[in-house]
Amino acid sequence: MRVPVSWLRDYVAMDMSLTELATKLSIASAEIEGIETRGVADEGGNLGLFRIGKVREAIKHPNADRLQLTKVDLGEAEPRSIVCGAWNFGVGATVAVALPGATIPARPGLPDGLTLERRKVRGEISDGMILAEDEIGLGADHEGIMVFPEIEPGTLLADVVPLSDKVLLVEATGNRPDLQSIYGIAREIAAIYDLDLAEAPGLIPVGTPGGPVKIQVGDFERCSRYVGTIVQGVTVGHSPLIMKARLLGAGMRPISNVVDITNYVMLTLGSPLHAFDLATLNGGGINVRRASDGEKLTTLDGVERVLTADDLVIADDARAVALAGIMGGAETEVSADTHTILLEAANFESHGVFRSSERHRLRSEASGRFEKGVDPQLADQAARWATELIVEFAGGTWTSWNDVHAGLPARPFVEFRPERADAVIGVKTTPDEQFRILGKLGFEQEGTGVIVPSWRARDVTREIDIVEEIARFRLEEVPFTLPQRREMFGVLTREQKLRRRLEDALVGLGFAETYTPSLRPDDETTWKLPEPISVDLTALRTTILPSLVEAVARNIDAGAKNIALFEVARVYLPGDGDLPTERVRVAGIVEGGFSRAKGVVETVYAALKAEPAFARGEHRLLHPGKAATTGAGIVGELHPRELDGEWGAFELDLDDLFAASREPITYTDVITYPAVRQDIAVVVGEGVAAGDIVATARTAAGAELREIRVFDVYRGEQLGAGKKSVAFSVAYQADDRTLNDEDATRLRDAIINALATEFGAELRA
């Protein structure tokens, strides 16, 4: 909310600096996101350059049909010559003048403001500028310049109109509807600084008229209170300048005296109001009811809304005339011809307003307040004060009043122990001080607790809520302590440690870690957002590689060399229940082909003390002949349609990887009885996989075969067509003795015999 400081001063006398006030409010009440200047900047003597002037001469500009050439008396020795484009004044008019050197504020069409100079306009000297209200932030009107009643020429304009103001940008939290009002913020300031708070307007009833207002409320759940007043014989016109200036400062556009007053009272007290043109209401009364499905209403913004039975509307005898608590209807709005108004100050249930506002994608100053919950006690007060202001500024006679409700809620009583506040906050505050703070905020001490003011009744219902009221005034005094611990949990789990090791291993292999969005344009998944914010972020991914392919492609385009990217992230797979199965995976892409990727995967497994189990595999992103499963995922060469060149890729499931890890390691004595190493080469058919040779060798040789690794595959004429030689190195070792040549021969024969039986392998000479 934008809060003009002059408006606050109506209710609390402030002499602290605004910067300090902003800090205190930010800590105790609501964040102050900034302090802006409304109107004319009050710096460098600028305000002194805005003066009242009296027009002594006014003739048509000799060289321009649309301009007037005037002489304006500013209380100086000589009147000044000023060229002006407006024609709504003449000799004798009292006007506002900005002198050369004055800076006028930015406005639509003049984004940087303007510093005036004495200059010639079409050959005639113009020694100042006669001002329209929009030029100095006093209104939206640019139909003509401002004309004042008789005032001494030379008088400071700032003494006549609210020329300059500061505006606090207050960001109140959702639990504080009371801070959606000037008066509510004044109340906080009075509490923080222990200042007096002026009585709120509208509380003292002035003679309520006896005339009736036809109000029928058909749904007290959704509309707990409806106050209606009728004022006859109003003259719709301009609001006073100060009201316009404040509304502009608060970010609302002045419209007409009646509408401005409803907004002014809403901003002051926090209770939204709406004025209907009574003549447009069929039957001359109000019916608060649910809409019927398909019923139509054109709201003030000109949009035709198709309503549902969950929408609450204000209706007359024939139709809906307002979307309750959100926006009035276009057909019943107050216009220049309006003579009789029906003023509404009501309470609409917050969730219903929220649902309708959501459904119609329509938020307004009113709906924002109702969603947070408006104090039902305010409706009466707001209606009275707005009515008084309408009679004062738009004339007319207050003829009728009605207040329909099904009983107003009592102010809640909450048990409260001051020592509980100390226990939660961790700093001592005397009970007297606690009740002083609470008192300034409108809480009344009674017995073993407090009575909550109506404007906080929604938010403050429990002792802890009272504690918070104390806490927010003590935040700067809260010390820095640490919990007294009886038990500690500060260790990473095995999986968390292994994840770090995995990440570090890939970094050691030259990979750069990247993060890509978990949402993709499309994926073969049921987990798709029905309303995504963009087509690119629609479906929860079931694989990470496509995102990495895109990242690699961008890097190729950017001219990067030695590209190697990895990501550790989740995939979202169909689950058994009504949630997806979320699995954490590591995926990577690296320059080089299949063997590069496989080398990376083997090293990752080795780093994790795990053994991969490679088998032929397939994946839609991988080369059909160069893809393998590992036991925890896939590795292969990227399909050439994905990226130009040879790229290795892998995607592995972390839980599966870590399950295979032999961490923590058990020590093996490899020193006392050294290993015997041999190289063996066998000739087999082309179709025999190296992995199968290794597996068969392991089975045949048993536990004494400690290492086996294929180091060469050879094809040549002397081997014959369809044959290949596979060479591998082996290491034999026993735990209890040093193996001798006979042992080595025995093991070697066992391997060769098994390979011969299994694959028809022959020992290569």
Binding site: A423, R500, V507
Partner: protein
């Protein structure tokens, strides 16, 4: 052989020749002449018939061998020195290009956060990202009208399932799984329906801390956050609290950390306040404790959450959050 050579003179001549040799080749030539198979002393030794002469000649030969060895070592050193002097490289040329990878800045921040909390005796966890409305909102005591429940703010798959909007459901999960005392930090991806800008991305990371124990206070929260902020931003930083509102904490606060750019005097980064917003925090609301079956009179707790991207942006002065999501090696290789 007619004359008996003057072996003293021979030794002196040989030693002089060794000293005079300017290179290993010269020295070798002299060695062959004075100690080789056909040298006088070799021949002399071959013809020795008496013990005395034998000892004399052996003595001469041994001394000369030492002299030549010493000279040879000296010449070898000199020659090595000369050769190495010629082998000067341009030390300003680059070395071999070895692969070096990079952890993403978010991972680096994640580890810093984990380490800070491990030091405080917290366990580290992460929970599911697709959440039920029950865990994302209801059990965290979000009011039915809270704006986060709107599909305008939150990604809904259907009326009951959302992408979690904060890591706070972890609070419920751990409280349902274990008995207090609980001290945990949950770190992971969260999702909000924000348009992509320099400061907002619909997917981001949060860390969420929760402590549930007997007698915890707002002061304990303040001390904990001071430790964590100093771990993340440096020992000079200060922390202050501002009142705020969150459905699942009461009292709720927002912690600010003093601005590291202006050190509190006010600058563009801190919007001239001297302070930077760090996230949300507060004492666990009694309703949340009751929702998981804990007695709020016996147990109290505090909780807090902060964004990792924001932390990374502040730590590394990254103006545009999108840089963290594009996988651009020009960005990643800086970290």
């Amino acid at each position: 052989m007619t004359d008996t050579p003057d072996w003293n003179a021979y030794e002196a001549e040989a030693a002089a020749a060794a000293q005079a040799a300017a290179s290993s080749d010269d020295l070798e030539e002299a060695r062959v002449r004075f100690l080789g198979r056909k040298s006088d002393i070799a021949l002399g030794l071959r013809e020795v018939r008496d013990r005395e002469t034998g000892m004399l000649l052996n003595g001469v030969r041994t001394r000369l061998e030492e002299t030549f060895d010493t000279r040879a070592a000296r010449l070898a050193d000199d020659e090595l020195d000369r050769r190495l002097r010629d082998e000067i490289v341009d030390v300003t040329l680059p070395g071999d290009e070895l692969p070096l990878g990079h952890l993403h800045p978010i991972t680096q921040i994640r580890r810093m956060v984990e380490d800070a909390f491990l030091g405080l005796g917290y366990e580290v966890r992460d929970d599911r990202e697709v959440e039920t409305v029950e865990y994302n909102f209801d059990k965290l005591a979000f009011l039915p009208t809270h704006s986060a429940r709107s599909p305008r703010d939150t990604f809904f798959f259907d009326p009951n399932h959302v992408l979690r909007t904060e890591t706070s459901p972890s609070q419920i999960h751990i409280m349902e799984e274990k008995e207090p005392p609980l001290y945990m930090v949950s770190i992971g991806r969260v999702y909000r329906r924000d348009a992509i800008t320099a400061t907002r991305y619909p997917i981001f990371h949060q860390f969420e801390g929760l402590a549930v124990d007997r007698g915890l206070t707002l002061a304990d929260l303040k001390g904990t956050l001071l430790h964590v902020m100093r771990a993340l931003y440096g020992p000079e930083r200060k922390v202050r609290f501002r009142t705020h509102y969150f459905p699942f904490t009461e009292p709720s606060i927002e912690p600010d950390v003093s601005c590291g750019i202006c050190l509190g005097s006010g600058c563009r980064t801190c919007k001239y306040s001297g302070w930077i917003e760090m996230g949300g925090a507060g004492m666990v609301d009694p309703t949340v404790l009751a929702n998981v079956g804990l007695d709020p009179e016996e147990w109290s707790g505090f909780a807090f959450g902060c964004g990792l991207e924001r932390t990374a942006q502040l730590r590394h002065d990254i103006p545009d959050i999108r840089a963290l999501w594009e996988g651009d090696l020009r960005v990643l290789r800086q970290f």
